[in-house]
């Protein structure tokens, strides 16, 4: 056996020229080291999935303009993005919900919340109606509480004059995975209905008899295949997949569809100053205004206020560019709502406070 092995290895040695292997390995190593030295440092980010499509587009467009800058983003969820930023494993995070006080307490440096685009949560349904369904905040809250169980409930009928509503059971579909979408939707419910006070969050214990599905696709699938179903889905997904959505009554009593203009209307010029005072972490649900779609929200990129010089410079350059008309137009084309110009001016001014250090 040993003899056999020895002769075999000797033959192998003759077949493979070890010098060749060694020299090609060294060449490869040199190439890798050289390439690393030439390439810019990779800027890593992780977080929310809702803005992932637009961020991915922004990064690639920005890289075309600045070939030396490479940004890598992973949509792992807002909570994950914040956790990674706290752990210091990424250069920036992204979240649909601002950091909580408990999370802020865990970071040594100050974290800036930079709003990038706006989105909304739509109430999608599966009913054959002669006109789009109209709903008000309190009625939505009662559906998602399990108190309104039939579509021909007097409260729903009152909002939809002239529309024949069927005697069907309301099947409530919710998000089972923790998500920023749930956080925004439940915060809206807490604002419009006292029964919901204190129950908002990324994971909500919905009433017994509601059905949870994973992700927007899961909720949309559940709605599409059950007549009489109602559920909440993020606006971009709903608009792209042409799902039916309810017109929601805003503070002024108007029924509004979740179009990008109506979502952007949630930040009127007079509110910008207040939003700036709160470090841009404001909730904008149920805003006041005629055209306002009430279940709207901002989404943020999170960066440390102190960053190493080289990466920091590039990241700030990118963040400044996201506030340009060009970048915001790209967002609008992908069904995200653009930030109002006044707010973008304030964000640009605020970013000047980022400190870059030589390390």
């Amino acid at each position: 056996m040993n003899k056999l092995f020895a002769s075999a290895s000797k033959n192998l040695g003759q077949i493979i020229d070890w010098h060749l292997v060694l020299s090609s390995l060294i060449a490869l190593l040199a190439f890798v080291i050289g390439a690393r030295a030439l390439a810019a440092p990779m800027i890593n980010g992780a977080g929310a999935t809702f803005p992932e499509p637009i961020y991915t587009k922004w990064f690639s467009e920005f890289q075309k303009k600045n070939p030396t800058i490479a940004i890598n983003y992973q949509g792992i969820g807002s909570g994950g993005g914040i956790r990674q930023l706290i752990a210091g494993t990424v250069d920036f995070g992204a979240s649909d919900a601002p950091m909580t006080d408990a999370e802020t307490a865990k970071v040594s440096k100050k974290v800036l919340h930079i709003p990038t685009v706006m989105g909304a949560v739509v109430v999608s349904y599966n009913l054959k109606l002669s006109a789009p369904l109209k709903l008000s905040g309190p009625v939505i809250a009662e559906m998602f509480n399990g108190t309104i169980t039939k579509w021909n409930d007097a409260k729903v009928v009152a909002l939809n004059p002239g529309v024949a509503l069927p005697d069907k059971q309301v099947i409530v579909a919710t998000r089972s995975d923790g998500s920023g979408t749930t956080a925004i939707f439940s915060e809206y419910l807490a604002q419009v209905s006292p029964a919901w006070a204190g129950k908002a969050g990324k994971t909500v214990n919905w009433f017994r008899g509601s059905v949870g599905a994973k992700g927007n696709a899961g909720v949309a699938g559940l709605i599409q295949q059950s007549e009489g179903a109602v559920g909440y889905i993020e606006s971009v997904y709903a608009l792209q997949n042409k799902l039916p959505f309810a017109h929601v009554q805003n503070k002024k009593g108007k029924f509004v569809a979740p179009d990008v203009a109506n979502i952007s209307a949630s930040i009127p010029a007079k509110a910008v100053g207040d939003i700036e005072k709160q470090d841009f972490k404001s909730s904008i649900v149920n805003a006041d205004g005629d055209a306002v779609y009430p279940i709207s929200a901002l989404t943020w990129l999170l960066v440390n206020e102190e960053m190493p010089k080289e990466k920091g410079e590039q990241l700030v350059q990118f963040l400044n560019w996201t506030m340009s008309d060009e970048a915001q137009k790209m967002a609008t084309d992908m069904n995200y709502a653009p930030l109002p110009k006044e707010l973008r001016t304030k964000v640009l001014a605020r970013m000047k406070s980022i400190k870059l250090q030589l390390q």
Binding site: G79, T100, G180, N205, K214, G221, Q225
Partner: protein, 287 residues
């Protein structure tokens, strides 16, 4: 090399144990035996998920076992030899379908069928049971059980086929010589000696069903709830981790999810150990 696997397992176990400690400290025994899971109020416990896991897996076994054993008998005893290979290949192919595909198929094909046909039918046939009550969602324990059944059929079938193949032909010839019919031969000379092998195969299938995540998450309805109705939404240990881990932001929530993972690991190890013991006893008997 084998030592690497053992070390890995011990490391994973230790990781879950140390990281889930805060949850066990906060809730004590209530963490395992409580029924509440309310992330927004920081109340966590495992029992509802353990219930969903065990019931959906047992349902799956109930649906899959007759089909699998029937297929195995057909393949070894009755099938013409030219069909045997392609059929075995097709059954093994079921195991190659990614679980997320099963999940999507479950949402769009199986769930509507369960809602429109199976549930009303069962509810009408057994009105006083309570097992088939509740509004027809189409997703829930029953649908999860069906999907899991399809997923574990290849496991149980292929192991049972091998068990039946290993039974000496002497048995069959003996039974035939005593004047047994085809069915009696199968019953006494194949199913009898192969029974413990079939039991071991089912337990392996059960182990697979317990750990299945994606397909179940998509069709079980995800409600942390213990309800007597088979058509009510439920959740399993694997599905709650898949659903909530990415967005969990409080330390207690994360630690509770890891605690659920620890319980799941213990359950899987228990199931697999039982099947190993059975297989070992069978081997000792037959050889």
């Amino acid at each position: 090399m084998g030592i690497v696997v053992i070390v890995l397992f011990i490391l994973i176990f230790m990781f879950l144990l140390t990281n889930s400690r805060p949850a066990f400290e906060a809730f004590g025994r209530g963490f395992v035996f409580g029924r509440e899971w309310i992330p927004s109020e920081e109340v966590f416990s495992v029992l509802a998920f353990a219930f969903g896991t065990i019931v959906s897996s047992l349902l799956a076994l109930m649906f899959a076992l007759p089909i699998s054993v029937g297929s195995a008998i057909f393949l070894t005893e009755l099938c013409p030899s030219f069909l045997r290979r392609p059929l075995r290949f097709l059954i093994e192919m079921l195991a190659a379908i990614p679980s997320v595909v099963y999940g999507l198929w479950g949402i769009f094909v199986l769930a509507p069928f369960v809602r429109a046909t199976i549930q009303p039918g069962l509810a009408a046939a057994f009105p006083y049971f309570g097992l088939f009550e509740g509004p027809p969602y189409g997703v829930g324990l029953f649908t999860a059980g069906l999907i899991l059944a399809i997923m574990i059929i290849p496991t149980i079938t292929s192991i049972s086929t091998e068990v039946f193949d290993s039974i000496p032909n002497l048995y069959r010839e003996g039974a035939k010589a005593l004047g047994a019919t085809e069915w009696e031969t199968i019953k006494t000379a194949v199913l009898g000696p192969g029974m413990s092998g079939v039991v071991a195969a089912s337990i392996l299938g059960l182990g697979r069903a317990v750990g299945e995540t994606m397909a179940v998450t998509m069709v079980i309805g995800n409600r942390a709830d213990i309800s007597p109705s088979l058509f009510s939404p439920s959740a399993t240990m694997a599905s709650v981790i898949a659903n909530e881990y990415a967005e969990a932001n409080s330390d207690l929530h994360i630690s509770s999810l890891l605690g659920v993972g620890l319980c799941l690991l213990i359950l899987s190890v228990a199931i697999n150990s039982i099947s190993r013991i059975i297989i070992w006893r069978v081997r000792r008997k037959t050889i």
